[in-house]
């Protein structure tokens, strides 16, 4: 009997590759233009923080309706899941 495959793919997962572009240092290794006095090198990299969050967040939202949970859909709020906080 062939073993069931453990892989499930969604094209949304490709978004997770985008933040790796942050590693291309020649694109941002410069002093100007400055923002609030910060050299480009620094504020450019700070700007990637929200980019990373959006990429991961999109993949999370877009793939959660895929048949992953077997018994129940994920409709609980954050606090409902937070058993220990109560």
């Amino acid at each position: 009997m062939p073993r069931p495959s453990s892989l499930r793919w969604s094209n949304w997962n490709l978004l997770l590759l985008i933040p790796l572009l942050m590693l291309v240092t020649p694109w941002f290794n410069s002093d100007g233009p400055r923002l609030f006095g910060l050299p480009f090198f620094y504020w450019y990299q700070f700007a990637w923080v929200p980019v990373g969050v959006v990429c991961v967040g999109l993949v999370y939202v877009k793939t959660r309706n895929a048949a992953v949970a077997e018994d129940k859909p994920d409709l609980l709020g954050v606090d409902d899941l937070d058993e220990g906080a109560k």
Binding site: S6, L20, F36, G37, F46, W48, G52, V56, A69
Partner: protein, 554 residues
């Protein structure tokens, strides 16, 4: 002696001590005599608790003092911590939920448990467990370095072994409540730690730049300092030689972080896949914080901070830069809060790391080789004792051996833990690699990585007058390898190049190449490749599924 700071620090320290002991009863399961309860907090932490716990675990006190100290000393290269923690979450998002599911179905507590189940090889699991323990030990010791930087800044800067007494007291308390409460203690304390850290850093990055004429002025002052220093690699920007090192160090560190057993402990303690996924979206808040904190290294230059001399070693301790900055620029009571934030910040990861190391010892050495029929209760007992041994080992490291040794070891630890990537992370996706390939790849990656690190030295730095500013070090002086030094059995593919690369990436690449070659040969010869107890569906099981194993089942 700085009394106000000491009193505020002690009061907050007392608060978390009480929390640490109370934690044993917080959301307690039916028993603490099981590793699921003691070592994983009952495997039921929700999104908020996990956010505080994992955040408190990954962004350690050492990170909070060492990253700004690095920026203070070298400038832009120290800022790699930001790209590192931004690319981290997209990389681990998918593998971590698979790891959670398969561990939940089979009741795995450690990454080595997973490898044991996936390949049916206790030797490969032992290799993974030892790597984890050895890489984690110096990391715990470094938390002490962070804690001690704060204690010495507050005036508790005695010399000799006695000078370490305050550190020792703090650690005995930590050891006791970790012993009693297990993972619940750091989970509860993390709330206090992270709240304090957020307050302190947000206040600091709003208040301090204004005080020194704004960020523009601060960066200009910093550049003047770097220009004047005889070091060539420093500056507020990268240079042609260290850009590759910057990118590969960020990438290598991101690949390595969740291979550390303590990071996985936080993930396995969470309740379900969605808790982990939400956290991968929310944890970058800490990255933002770390980036802001890193820039305080530049502020410290403007403020003219002088690192305190550690009376035990007689050398200036650059890790005191941030504590000194806070002590110098803030009123005493607020500095006390800042010190407490860093001090408590050392306790949370130290507790989780010692629990993770204890879990590895218990599951993959004690239960595997010493007492195969150990009951869950005996396992829990063994892990509790192991957590004590690990912590006191770390204290002994700091007290009796030069702290610099721990820093070197942690550098080595990062390269070491990266060698478990094929057996742990890639195995989550495919069983294509042969167990022999993984073992031999591990030896090659480890051996070559250590050899390369051993041979990295720095020349001594002299100022214009010829006076030695920084003493040279012949071995283990960093993780940046000049490509010129890269040699494959005498063949130097990049001879003459001064471009630097992170050793860990080189070593893991060698590991993978060897693993592939050995796998091809082993498959050709039809060598038995162990039995896999996991099933494709196991990697997608979520909370509530009928597949998951009951928590703390006997």
């Amino acid at each position: 002696m700085q009394w106000t700071e000491l009193i505020v620090f002690s009061a907050l320290f007392l608060l978390v001590t009480v929390l640490g002991f109370v934690a044993a009863r917080w959301q307690a399961g039916s028993t603490l005599d099981h590793l699921d309860e003691w070592g994983l907090g009952g495997r039921k932490f929700g999104s908020w608790i996990t956010w505080f716990l994992v955040g408190g675990d990954l962004y350690t006190a050492y990170t909070f003092v060492a990253v700004p100290a690095l920026v203070f000393g070298a400038g832009a290269t120290g800022f790699f911590a930001l790209p590192y923690t931004v690319i981290l979450y997209p990389i681990v998002f998918l593998p971590l939920v698979r790891m959670w599911s398969v561990s939940r179905v089979h009741g795995y507590v450690t990454p080595a448990d997973f490898v044991r189940g996936r390949y049916g090889s206790h030797w490969l699991a032992l290799l993974i467990a030892i790597t984890g323990i050895v890489a984690t030990m110096p990391y715990i010791a470094l938390q002490l370095v962070g804690l001690e930087a704060v204690l010495r800044t507050m005036g508790l800067n005695g010399s000799g072994v006695l000078g370490h007494a305050p550190l020792f007291v703090a650690f005995v308390i930590l050891a006791l409540y970790t012993y009693q409460s297990g993972l619940r203690a750091p989970a509860l304390i993390a709330f206090v730690k992270d709240t304090l850290i957020y307050i302190v850093i947000l206040v600091a990055v709003i208040y301090l730049p204004a005080k020194f004429g704004g960020w523009g002025q601060i960066f200009d002052t910093a550049q003047v300092k770097y220009d004047a220093s005889p070091q060539k690699s420093d500056g507020i920007l990268l240079n042609a030689n260290n850009q590759l090192q910057y990118a590969t160090l960020a990438l290598g560190s991101a690949l390595a972080l969740f291979l550390y057993p303590h990071s996985l402990t936080g993930i396995l303690a969470s309740r379900g896949r969605n808790v982990i996924k939400r956290n991968m979206v929310a944890l970058p808040a800490y990255s933002l914080l770390l980036g802001l904190l890193a820039m305080l290294g530049f502020v410290a230059i403007s403020a003219g901070v002088k690192p305190i001399t550690n009376q035990a070693t007689g050398r200036a301790d650059t890790n005191t830069v941030i504590p000194v900055l806070f002590g110098q620029e803030f009123p005493a009571w607020f500095a006390g809060i800042a010190f407490a934030a860093i001090g408590i910040g050392a306790l949370v990861p130290a507790a989780i790391m010692s629990i993770a190391a204890a879990n590895l010892w218990t599951r993959n050495v004690y239960k595997e080789y010493l007492k195969k029929d150990a009951t869950p209760k005996q396992e829990a007992k063994q892990a509790k004792i192991a957590s004590l041994v690990v912590k006191f080992g770390a204290v002994a490291f700091i007290v009796f051996i030069d702290p610099q040794f721990s820093i070197d070891l942690q550098l080595i630890g990062g390269v070491m833990i990266l060698q478990t990537l094929p057996a742990v992370a890639i195995a989550l996706y495919t069983r294509w690699f042969h167990v022999y390939g993984l073992v031999i790849g591990w030896f090659v990656g480890m051996g070559w990585g250590m050899w390369l690190l051993y041979n990295i030295g720095t020349p001594e730095v002299r100022d214009a007058a010829g006076k030695v500013v920084t003493a040279g070090r012949p071995h283990f002086a960093g993780s940046a390898l000049a490509l010129d030094k890269l040699s494959l059995f005498g063949w130097q593919p990049f001879a003459g190049s001064t471009v630097q690369v992170y050793v860990g990436i080189v070593a893991v690449a060698a590991n993978l190449v060897v693993a592939v070659l050995v796998t091809l040969v082993a498959k050709k010869l039809h060598v038995f490749n162990g039995t896999d107890e996991t099933n494709g569906e196991d990697y997608h099981a979520d909370e509530g599924s009928s597949r998951v194993k009951p928590v703390a089942a006997h």
